[in-house]
């Protein structure tokens, strides 16, 4: 039977990819907006 809905639902893996892209952009945006944050890149404690 012909698929009447050629656009598949968003798979879990695609959703994870979108979350990943958002995380990368939001996480690293701060590096560009507030360069002083770079000084604490490795500060864990």
């Amino acid at each position: 039977m012909r698929d009447i809905n050629p656009i598949p639902r968003l798979s879990f893996f695609s959703a994870m990819g979108i979350i990943g892209l958002l995380a990368v952009h939001v996480g690293f945006a701060k590096t560009f907006i507030l360069p002083e944050c770079k000084a604490t890149t490795t500060h864990r404690r």
């Binding site: 990819g17 690293f28 770079k38 490795t42």
Partner: protein, 204 residues
């Protein structure tokens, strides 16, 4: 975008490759959901080359980071960060290569790639501490709890969608979580510093 960001070219290259790999993960999953397996295979080769590039550029990027933090007065703690860079590179590339080896077993392949994505993303999650400077122990809350929450979400999805948690996702995810917890506990200990110092000398 505001700010006056300055960094060596290798940092920009590393960041570009890492973001591209995440974008490629999304494209690859969309291609498979549309059953475009031929394009998926071709892009898979690109993905592998990119993953190698991400892992290889982690070393000079890590060395730059150490040099900068030592210059900022962080001392041996600054050098200690190098161990986490190396373990991340090894885990990420190991998972991608394992995924490529298991490419004819889709259930295993896609879960290994998912774990590789989660490993690659933890620096991004860790940077969320800049938005929430009041949160204590960001190394626990952002680099482990938030970053590895994707593993737990993946377990829930697998159980819900497939009736069981696939062993690759279960045990691979557990190993990643345990490694991250170990890093939090052991970070900057005397043994950790010795390993970091050895790596720092070896990479120079």
């Amino acid at each position: 975008m505001q700010g006056n960001y300055h960094a060596p070219a290798v940092i920009s290259l590393h960041g570009s490759l890492a973001v591209s790999w995440v974008a490629l993960f999304l494209v690859q999953s969309l291609l498979i959901s549309r059953r475009s397996t031929r394009a998926h295979r071709v892009l898979g080769i690109v993905s592998l080359l990119m993953a190698v590039g991400v892992a290889v550029t982690m070393f000079p990027a890590g060395m730059y980071q150490v040099g900068r933090d030592v210059a900022a007065g962080m001392g041996e703690t600054g050098v200690s960060a190098l161990v986490g860079v190396v373990t991340s590179a090894v885990m990420f590339l190991g998972l991608v290569i394992a995924g490529i080896i298991c490419r004819r077993r889709p259930a295993v392949h896609k879960r290994l790639m998912l774990l590789a994505l989660i490993v690659l993303l933890w620096p991004a999650w860790f940077r969320f501490r800049h938005y929430f400077p009041g949160v204590p122990r960001p190394d626990i809350w952002f680099a482990v709890v938030l970053a590895d929450s994707l593993i737990v979400i993946s377990w829930i999805w697998d159980k819900w969608a497939n009736g069981r948690i696939h062993p690759v996702l279960l045990y691979g995810g557990l190993l990643i979580i345990l490694e991250h917890i170990f890093e939090v506990i052991a970070f900057d200990s005397i043994y950790w510093r010795n390993v970091a110092a050895w790596m720092y000398q070896a990479f120079q």
